[in-house]
């Protein structure tokens, strides 16, 4: 992985979540704006960066994340493609073969599925296939997850598919700062990155300054968002705010919870995660994706393998149910919320252990 060069990596630990590192004077920016800015800065710095997808040009994307890019860089740099996801990603592969760095937008999670073959059989494997001669510096931006009242096919959490595919990086920001930093790092990476954007955080704000973006995070480092001693909540993306809230609420019940934001599912930061779990002795993995065969399975399994004798209780999982994503009016029953996280924490066998 390459780290872009706009500044030193900020030390992000407890309490830093959702707040800008340095520029106190800055006015609040949204995650969508930070993402836009990351693309803009990358495009300005590097003429090989090309943004492409459905409605990314004139409209600026259905979430307005590419707003203004076509105007600023022209339609050849920010291109409205025909409506065909396999074609988009397949064309991006060819562009990457010729030295460009395509940033592809998939309009919604479920609409990335037509591109599955291109992703699995080419994007993920091309570097390996050619012994490194044909790297695939492609970013595939996928708005994912629910909580926005989207009708069917608009709220899938598809990270398990990508995690199970060697050759891909899988990255997802939870804060405005990370949205910028991680997307810059993803674009700078010589490897393909599936960049999962938590839709319902698009409009979350922080006083991060688009004018003086602080740090570009390297890919592959988890971060402790909140320090605690009793148990570790391991989470990412849209579930980070939920866990932080749960940790606050838990305080009242006498549990001091640590919250780890993975930021990158692949590569996985065993070090940070295991250090935390060894410290706390208990862990709950929290995500929106369905539980069975979901990301939490890998996380629970590997944490258990590495920290078995530090564990006072099995690593528990709080996840979406093993059902197709519900219709808008029922989604709140599906999404892991604070209560469900606290219920899991309560089941961490507090009597038995320390």
């Amino acid at each position: 992985m390459t780290t872009a060069t706009t500044g030193p990596t900020a030390d992000r630990t407890a309490g830093n979540a959702g707040k800008g590192g340095k520029a106190g004077k800055a006015k609040p920016a949204t995650m969508a704006q930070a993402l836009q800015r990351a693309m803009r800065d990358a495009m300005a710095e590097d003429p090989t960066v090309h943004v492409m997808g459905e409605d990314v040009g004139t409209l600026g994307g259905v979430f307005r994340v590419t707003d203004g890019l076509a105007k600023e860089f022209g339609e050849d740099r920010c291109t409205d493609t025909p409506l065909a996801e396999a074609g988009i990603l397949g064309a991006a592969v060819g562009m990457a073969m010729y030295g460009l760095r395509p940033v592809v937008e998939m309009q919604f999670d479920a609409f990335a599925y037509p591109a599955f073959e291109q992703l699995i059989s080419h994007v993920a494997k091309m570097r390996n296939r050619t012994r490194g001669a044909m790297p695939m510096p492609i970013v595939i931006r996928v708005p994912y997850g629910g909580g926005i009242g989207g009708v069917e096919h608009h709220s899938d959490s598809s990270e398990a598919y990508y995690m199970a595919t060697p050759g891909l990086h899988v990255v997802t920001p939870a804060t405005v700062e990370d949205a910028y930093g991680l997307l810059r790092a993803a674009i700078a990476s010589d490897d393909p990155v599936v960049f999962l954007e938590p839709k319902r955080l698009y409009w979350s704000k922080s006083d991060w300054s688009p004018e003086a973006p602080a740090a570009v995070e390297p890919i592959g480092k988890a971060v402790v968002r909140r320090r605690g001693t009793g148990a570790t909540l391991i989470t990412y993306g849209p579930s980070v705010p939920v866990c932080l809230e749960a940790a606050e609420a838990a305080q009242a019940e006498g549990w001091d919870l640590e919250v780890v934001d993975l930021r990158s599912l692949v590569p996985f930061d065993d070090e940070t995660v295991c250090a935390s779990v060894r410290r706390t002795g208990r862990a709950v993995v929290v995500h929106e994706s369905t539980g069975f065969g979901g990301p939490g399975a890998e996380i629970a399994a590997r944490v258990t393998e590495r920290c078995f004798h530090h564990l006072e209780a099995p690593v528990l999982r709080v996840a979406g149910f093993d059902i197709p994503y519900p219709p808008p009016m029922l989604e709140r029953h599906h999404l892991p919320g604070v209560d469900r996280v606290l219920d899991a924490v309560a089941r961490l066998q507090w009597e038995a252990g320390s």
């Binding site: 459905e54 409605d55 040009g57 004139t58 409209l59 600026g60 259905v62 409205d80 493609t81 025909p82 409506l83 065909a84 996801e85 396999a86 074609g87 479920a110 609409f111 599925y113 037509p114 009242g149 989207g150 009708v151 069917e152 096919h153 608009h154 069975f292 149910f321 093993d322 059902i323 197709p324 519900p326 219709p327 808008p328 009016m329 029922l330 029953h333 599906h334 209560d339 469900r340």
Partner: protein, 383 residues
Amino acid sequence: MQQRSSTVQEPPGAVPAYRPTPPPAWQPRTDPAPLLPDTEPLRVLGTDAVADADPALLLRLYAELIRGRRYNTQATALTKQGRLAVYPSTHGQEACEIAAALALEERDWLFPSYRDTLAAVARGLDPVQALTLLRGDWHTGYDPHEHRIAPLSTPLATQLPHAVGLAHAARLKGDDVVALAMVGDGGTSEGDFHEALNFAAVWQAPVVFLVQNNGFAISVPLAKQTAAPSLAHKAVGYGMPGRLVDGNDAIAVHQVLTEAVARARRGGGPTLVEAITYRIDAHTNADDATRYRAAGEVETWRAHDPILILERELTERGLLDEDGRRAAAEAAETMAAELRERMNADPVLNPMDLFSHVYAEQTTQLREQAAQLRAELEAEGEA
């Protein structure tokens, strides 16, 4: 493996003069000429052909268009009242929606895209059921078998192979059922469009593909979607006829679709129909169409409004007077009032439904999860 020595090893000797032969297997498989669409979209209204049109049908189309327009305005109003999560309007495209519904027999199947709730309603589906997906209480609000309307398909073009498979299955079973599948201009770029049309032609399945070319896929204009002479020209590449029709001319669309359905029914195979129309509203209520198109363009199309041009024709021919207009408007108003009222009632929801239909039989895992939710709901209820 049939490995033979290469021709080059043959002794040369007296070489017979080479005279061209076509490649052995080659023969023109079908004559492309009848498959090619006309260069101008078919129009009936305002042409001599309208004289042949059945007045009763014209009036029926008129009443349905009025009702359809009112349905569109009502559904859009419901989004503003928070009663619908989202609504993709067919304002301006009502002629296609209505004609698609009316071209089919009861035993036939309709495969609508996400935009085509109106076609479903025109086919007889209860409007509230048609809007379930967009209200958000469930995904599909009706039993598809009841009116033979497949679920509204959100993933673009994916419903086309379904239509082919269903039509093929019906034909294998000996039922003379036709499937009509709807898709947008943008949807024609998807691989599923290609694969569906190819399967349909190879199987000679009784299916009609209706492309509503409304000029845009959200913000992307047709010129960025295709370089083809017309979308109907794609038909020849599958070996099926392509038809081009003015999508705002209700009787023309009805005629083209009825012919295609009849052809499919008598074993003549599939047809691709491109209807040229325009989406007057934004993509959905959540979209801002001013970002990608000029108001003037919309105005031009308002002058070619499907209701306007049919109404003028009917009036000119003395088929429609003030009373007729009022009757149609009142019927539409009644429908709208009822829809409004029924949509204002909160739907009855049962969260436990989330676990009821994932599999024919609940797995142990789902039973456990259902129990968890039930416990939570009970705790909530107590609190």
